[in-house]
Amino acid sequence: MSAPILWIFLPLILAGLLLLVPNQKVISLVACIFTLFLTLAAWLLEVDTAMTIGNWSFKITSTFEILGRTLVLGSGDRSLLALIYGSSIVWFAVAPAAKAARRLTPLGLAITALLVAALAVEPFLYAALLIEMAVLLSIPLLSAPGKKPGKGLIRLLIFQTFAMPFILFSGWLLAGIEANPGDLGLVQQAAILIGLGFSFLLAVFPFNSWIPLLTEESSPYSVGFILWIFPTVTLFFGLGFLDHYAWLREAPTLMSVLTTVGILMVVSSGLLAGFQRHLGRIMGYAVIMETGFSILTLTLRGTVGLNIFFMLLVPRILCLVIWAFALSILKAHSPTLILSEIKGLGRTWPFATSGLVLANLALAGMPLLAGFPPHQAIWDGLASTSQTVVLWVLVGNLGLLFSAIRVLLAISSAAEGSQWESRETGAQRILLSIGFLALLLLGLFPQWVLPLWANLPGLFIHLGQ
């Protein structure tokens, strides 16, 4: 057995089989057990080392050859696999309570497997093709049943498809640079193509218009999943680029470009989030802001920046799951999700509305919540290099905080005499309560999740130097 078969092909096969199963609970149960098995396997099994269980000896090889190219998942990738599949369990486990399991679980599993393949393929530039295939699979997941495809969905398809040619073509130029590193013209062309490719993939301003549109027109839970997995894997892909190419890593303009892009994303999304009237759009802008923060961590040289980059991952998934789940509960009651139409819902949907506000506050970096420790570390790191950058970042954060206050005002402005009640189902209440507890605990004890990402910086040895 090879590692790519276990972590790529088996999930793809299972995803295909799960599409045929009509029962939501069965789909979720099977997918959760399977992804848990994959997570534990990534955590416990060694790759390229013979292992013995009783009389049975086996070895998981790291490579799998396909059409002259290889998929490689070595020992170093185990932490990454555990993180990706472990996070997927959270999404799949909550999906039935959000009534999204029928579509999300099989397609989500297939998308996850394809994106893992994107991180495993060598030469790694071919990842662009696999990411594009995952994008194509996300279209049926994000489409609203019985409705025409919305602008957001079409723009997602166009922008993400545009990324592929740029990345692939830059690969050819990069090969030329390796052969002739002194050719500055070639370096410049490659840098422009890579920049454009990643701008499309990471939805960098102005190529991010599809995110707020999509959060408005599609199922919030499915959008939440897509907005978690695509930026996360793309950021890993980007780190791979930086780690692999010394000329890119050591380019004198790289830091200023990353800082500008990061600030642009944080400030624009923060300010726009502050003035949105649609709850879904606020979540969309928060995701853009988080991508901006991840980019900013790369400007903090050495292991500090890389550690903060990975530190952001766990709080982000937690906040996004809670936010998307709460939105999907509220959407069933108030399909438009406009602020004016959710007035006073805090009295009737206390868990879901609390989820919205807490997740929003956590991503805004509110103390005592999960987002605070990594955001505080970013502010600290940025302050040591530039006060101006910190001020801009603060403006963005304040925008997101302002949106949380507006939501809080809307949900708490109930008519006089209205009674407190909870219309969420038992499962929804339990899952949201677990989420709130996790948000609080991660805010107080961020070191508890350290083992989840502690080995990840080792994947990018050159960046950590």
Binding site: Y126, M133, L137, S143, K148, P149, I154, L168
Partner: protein, 194 residues
């Protein structure tokens, strides 16, 4: 002789890409796309072995078949563009600008990538026309035609620098995926009706 056929393939590309921009009947759209894939096949086979280049043709025609079947199952009411000029004269004018621009660019590209002029011009023309299609239309069918056209242009240019079988297979899968997405979009619109 081959050079002459390359120029003929370029002319076919010009005609089909402009036709795709101007057409208002889906049958013409799919027919023109199928012919366009024929010229793409010819241009790619100058860079790749015929057996590999044939994959482009087979995939392209499969995409046309998928889109055609999806269109057959759709109710065809009059669909109009809502946001951009609908006139053929406007489209013809912008197509002319694209042709002129891509010709200028292809003079440099052909030298840079060591491609013959008709091949370089065809690639850039397809990319340009696809982008134009994407820019002036929000109809899902036209968007898919635009994406397929843009991708086709890129695939020819990429064939000049990459001959990997895996890339050919993955690009074919992406094209098929785009075709299936187009069919899905058309069916989504269909579900809207009682």
């Amino acid at each position: 002789m081959i050079t002459v056929i390359n120029w003929i393939a370029l002319l076919i590309t010009v005609a089909t890409s402009i036709g795709l921009l101007l057409q208002r009947d889906w049958r013409w759209g799919i027919g023109l796309l199928a012919i366009q894939y024929l010229s793409i096949f010819w241009l790619v086979q100058t860079l790749w072995p015929v057996s590999m280049a044939a994959v482009k043709l087979a995939t392209g025609w499969m995409v046309c078949a998928v889109l055609g079947i999806a269109q057959l199952n759709k109710d065809h009411e009059q669909e109009t563009e809502v946001s951009w000029p609908q006139g053929r004269l406007f489209r013809l004018f912008t197509a002319g600008i694209i042709m002129a621009t891509t010709f200028t660019l292809s003079l440099r590209t052909s030298g840079w990538l060591e491609l013959s002029l008709p091949i370089a011009w065809s690639c850039l023309l397809l990319i340009g026309m696809g982008l134009l299609q994407l820019g002036i239309s929000a109809q899902p069918f036209r968007v898919i035609l635009g994406l397929l056209t843009t991708m086709a242009g890129f695939e020819i240019i990429y064939a000049a620098v990459e001959t990997s079988t895996l890339v050919a297979a993955l690009l074919s899968t992406v094209n098929l995926g785009l075709g299936l997405t187009g069919a899905f979009f058309l069916n989504m619109s269909q579900e809207d009706k009682p």
